[in-house]
Amino acid sequence: MADHSLTNHAQTESLALRVQFDTAAQQKDASQLGMWIFLITEIMFFGGMFAAYTVYRNWYPEVFAIASSSLNAVLGAINTGVLLLSSFTMVMAVRAGQLGQQKMIIIFLILTLLFGGVFLGVKAIEWKEKFDEHHIPGQAAFHLEGLKDYDQGHAQLFFSLYFAMTGLHALHMVIGVGIILTLIMQAKKGIYSADYYTPVDVAGLYWHFVDVIWIFLFPLLYLIDRHLGK
């Protein structure tokens, strides 16, 4: 026991080794495994909505294609690019962590934050467009041009899924922005080094995951009419 607290104390400063772990490697492994398992729970979480999407798109393929074409695919594509860039800067932040370059960690985290912010801004513009066009499900004014009255309900299903899926994705982005803000503040205190940058690493996993979700959302929501050959 005495032994333990001794080694603990010696390592606390450089490695932030917590008392329940024996070694820094064990602690890092545990954090990474924890995040991977959390991401699995996230897959199941989004999976519920993807299942609903699959069912309804299968039932109402034409309505979904027409409703999809009313989304702004250009803005969607720009946002996809922005997110991919943010993932790149996130990777660079982790790389800077591995190399122990404290300044570079901060710079790349700030860039990631900026791209994340741009994505959310563009998303907000898109949502506003939907409100202006009365494409909000559940409102009496809902009307999607080019569809019979009978199909308006089915189009509402599409937009219900659109708002639920992009909304929860955006919520995950907001949480990610919060995490990165925290990381930046921690990094400014200089606690990260080549020996200890696990929080950056783990936050990176989360950020990429949220990115990947969007990679699925973009074609499934914006591009389904493209193969109809209009």
Binding site: V19, D22, G34, G138, S160
Partner: protein, 541 residues
């Protein structure tokens, strides 16, 4: 000398004092006790609703409460008991306390996350409790759409939000357990030297981690439909209410295994300890837990046999439901084989374990009735179903929980419970339980539907029997409540290993020190190797 040593020694309970030392603790043992207090509260809340239900059903006329109030009673009974008692019960209390000790770790991998899990349960509980006090919720614990999204005028959102938040408590506990089992085992603690309780909790964690998020998103979709009028499940817009049922049961059927698997783990420990034998077919019992966890995800459709699911899907789900019986039966047979030629001691935990095996077998076998397509149509939504799942969830899960509480009480508190009273209450609970729920099998078979506050007169005798049994059962639950609290002050001081058991938790003192062990144990034996405790038995203090 023994007493003095125990009083002097520093352990997790006297290491620090004050409310703050508990509310901000990162010690998995203290967090386990926080959970214990929380879920005990919800157990008595749920029990109060059950009492009102049983009193209403004494007479055929709906004379005590209106049908509307009755709807709320059974809904809130289900919500309190399932989400705030049974699901956290064994994992969050006994698992939290013992899983790290049993694998020789100083704590769970993420102690702060563990504390957060408890707070989430409390916050979720507060939401649901608020709904109960403000006027209740009447959708049934299943929240079927479109009633829950469009028509119910009760506190659906607050209750659902509470369940959503509590779900993350469950997810984080599961995540913590998985990482702990993978990364925190003591030297020599290989996977196949782990106690079966750890295996069972590991399998449970898999379900919590994979299933609960689906419930979470289902609740989110219900929420946005009720509040923002999105239309995911709205039949008026071409949406499918049955989709809600699929998503709901994708979690809520495996949730039954979240309740029963840890209980099976407890029973494995108890049966081995009190028959002084290694568990027969250790590997089979360990893997049967994992098999139940996996297969449990493939059977949810048996809740939808009469919901307009295709006959083909029904047949597949029926077949797969039968399949789960195999790993369940492996456990029961292996426990029985463990007893064979063992030195059986009838201590209280063993009585609960026997109770578990008997009642779980009845619950499991009647589950086969319900998995059969034709039979299920006859008894769907009758008291037969009620009796079946209470045999599993109360007769099974709760018996295991109480068995575990008795088994580990000396370790958790450093005090023995009074054996005589404990045996009596185990007997009272067993008899009261059967008197309560066995008549319900008959009622259901005769056609009495669930969820009504009035019934035809010919069902009265069986309902009176059931209510009488519930009264006996209530007494049976109160007795342990009283003597457990009594024992904290007046119970005999517990030795480190009162049962002569083999687990690592019995190698450390009772109650354990803050970091569980004076020095990290090195494991060189199988989980149930009784030769390891032969010499050093009764090594007190």
């Amino acid at each position: 000398m023994i007493t003095e040593a125990a009083v002097e020694r520093e352990h997790y309970l006297n290491a620090s004092y004050g409310l703050k030392s508990w509310l901000l603790t990162k010690d998995h043992k203290r967090i386990g006790l926080l959970y214990l207090a929380t879920i005990t509260l919800f157990f008595f809340i749920g029990g109060a609703f059950a009492t009102l239900i049983r009193v209403e059903l004494l007479t055929p006329q709906g004379d005590l409460v209106s049908s509307q109030t009755y709807n709320k009673l059974f809904t809130m009974h289900g919500v309190a008991m399932i989400f705030f008692f049974l699901i956290p019960s064994i994992p969050a209390v006994l698992g939290n306390f013992f899983l790290p000790i049993m694998i020789g770790a100083r704590d769970l991998a993420f102690p702060k996350l563990n504390l957060l899990s408890w707070y989430l349960l409390v916050i979720g509980g507060a939401f649901s409790l608020f709904a109960m006090i403000a006027g209740g919720v009447d959708t049934g614990w299943t929240f079927y759409t479109p009633y829950s999204t469009s028509y119910s005028n009760s506190w659906v959102i607050s209750t659902a939000l509470g369940i959503f938040v509590a779900g993350f408590s469950s997810i984080l506990t599961g995540l913590n357990f998985i990482v702990t089992v993978h990364r925190m085992r003591a030297p020599g603690m290989t996977w196949f030297r782990m106690p079966l309780f750890v295996w069972a909790n590991y399998a449970t964690s898999l379900i919590q981690v994979l299933g609960t998020p689906v419930l979470a998103v289902t609740i989110v979709l219900l929420f946005v439909e009720r509040v923002f009028h999105l239309g995911i499940f709205d039949p008026a817009r071409g949406g499918d209410p049955v989709l809600f049922q699929h998503l709901f049961w994708f979690y809520s059927h495996p949730a039954v295994y979240i309740m029963i698997l840890p209980s099976m783990g407890v029973v494995s420990e108890i049966i081995s300890t009190f028959s002084r034998k290694s568990v027969f077919g250790y590997g089979f019992v360990a893997f049967s837990s994992v098999a139940i966890a996996v297969l449990g995800f493939l059977v949810w459709g048996h809740h939808l046999f009469v919901s307009g699911q295709s006959l083909y899907a029904g047949m597949v789900f029926s077949f797969l439901s039968y399949f789960v019986a195999i790993p369940s039966a492996i456990k029961v047979f292996n426990w029985t084989a463990t007893l064979y030629k063992g030195s059986i001691v009838f201590q209280t935990p063993m009585l609960y374990a026997f109770g578990f095996i008997g009642l779980f077998t009845v619950g499991g076998l009647t589950g086969l009735f319900l998995a059969a397509l034709g039979m299920d149509i006859h008894v769907t939504d009758t008291y037969f179903v009620i009796a079946h799942f209470h045999y599993i969830m109360v007769g099974g899960a709760l018996m295991g929980y109480l068995g575990g509480m008795h088994f580990w009480w000396p370790k958790m508190t450093g005090r023995m419970y009074p054996e005589g009273w404990a045996k009596l209450s185990a007997l009272v609970i067993f008899l009261g339980f059967n008197l309560t729920f066995f008549p319900q099998f008959i009622l259901g078979y005769l056609g009495m539907p669930r969820r009504y506050h009035a019934y035809p007169e010919e069902f009265q005798v069986l309902n009176v029997l059931s209510t009488a049994g519930a009264s006996v059962l209530a007494v049976g639950y109160l007795i342990p409540m009283i003597y457990f609290i009594w024992s904290l002050r007046y119970g005999k001081i517990a030795p480190a290993n009162p049962w002569g058991a083999t687990g690592l938790e019995w190698r450390t003192s009772s109650p354990p020190p803050v970091h569980n062990f004076e020095e990290t144990p090195i494991v060189s034996h199988d989980a149930y190797d009784y030769s390891t405790v032969m010499g050093e038995e009764i090594e007190v203090g």
